[in-house]
Symmetry: C2
Amino acid sequence: MSARAEQKMRTRRALMDAALRQLSADRGFGSLSLREVAREAGIAPTSFYRHFAELDELGLALVDEGGVALRQLMRQARKRIARNGSAINTSVETFMEYLTDNANLFRLLLRERTGLSKQFRTAIQAEIDHFVTELADDLNRFGEDQGKPLSDPRLVAEAMVTLVFNQGAEALDATPKEKEILKAKLKTELRMVLIGAQMMAREAQRQQARKN
Amino acid sequence: MSARAEQKMRTRRALMDAALRQLSADRGFGSLSLREVAREAGIAPTSFYRHFAELDELGLALVDEGGVALRQLMRQARKRIARNGSAINTSVETFMEYLTDNANLFRLLLRERTGLSKQFRTAIQAEIDHFVTELADDLNRFGEDQGKPLSDPRLVAEAMVTLVFNQGAEALDATPKEKEILKAKLKTELRMVLIGAQMMAREAQRQQARKN
DNA sequence: TGTACATCAGTGAACGCGCGTTCACTGATGTAC
DNA sequence: TGTACATCAGTGAACGCGCGTTCACTGATGTAC
């Protein structure tokens, strides 16, 4: 790549990092201003337009990065589960690790998922849907392997993701001690859903058997 | 009350209604301006200060109203459950009814629960905690009555409220048809959690028995 | 009931501020020959 | 390799805008006697 192109990439990166740095418990993406982000990145406000047509475009680029992080997280969790077993424990531990390492990126996903801009919500929903689909596949495969099929794996996956993301949002601003408590709670919640779904599948099977 | 005090109350009400009216899928409380709310309420911007010291104070008054709605909802649900049985079905139906009737009030609660202002989050969390506590009591009583105790009723209540509020947020901008689907999904999710918690309690009992 | 004074919800002009966006520019980097 | 021209990331001045907040005011309502 030419030196010019490399420099351009570096500045683009600086803008995205500047925006991420300014996200926190009290600053949503919607409260950032173009001038502020440019200032933080060390460039003139007008230079911003060499990289993005508007602030939201930068936001969507960050959402993309969040999606990448989610997919990486899933791959990592699978690898670890294959080694350790203990799917729920391992998944929660992996999730929390990623959450901590990419706090502001997840903050963006978790916050803007129900945020102001339709465009943001749609983009994030797509990433989450992908995540849910993958999880549903895993749950299904896992259940069949163990001879404990699940009723409605997709719904189970949705419920689990809802619970995970919600505790995630709380964990973002929690102390390490609080995080441990949240992890324990989350694991129990997930186990409840999983066991409930197994019982419901068993019940449905029994009813089916009676009919035949 | 004096005519003057009555007029003042009416204006205050008009300000709160104006703010509520401007909340929607694309407008969070944080994006409202004092001037806009005053304009919509039909008074001069400066008159706003006769009623609230700042915009957030109005927002917190709305959160209070949301809390009242939540408590009313709970009372209503209990009454109906006493009549119909079918706790989950009835609760979900009642919740969705309230959600629809007070769409923008719930929008405020659901959105600002994870929103920008610490003050808002704290106030809303307090309302939700109260809600969770009541639900946990109900679950506990209900479980004992039926001879099916629950493991950790408080945690079950938290998981349920998380699921309910999340589907609620989605239902806010859903068509009636989509709402029916969301209701069905939510009921199934709640059933999974409940059954799972019952199974876990039974399992714990068995282990306890073995030890003795 | 009538009068004189106090209260106070609502007003309009004015302020300074940070914002997003435009524009014509500069000067280093890239390219064609 | 050297030269002449093209590209384009970054700039600084300038714009109009809506914002929150202050201030001194008005005039209807309330109160004391």
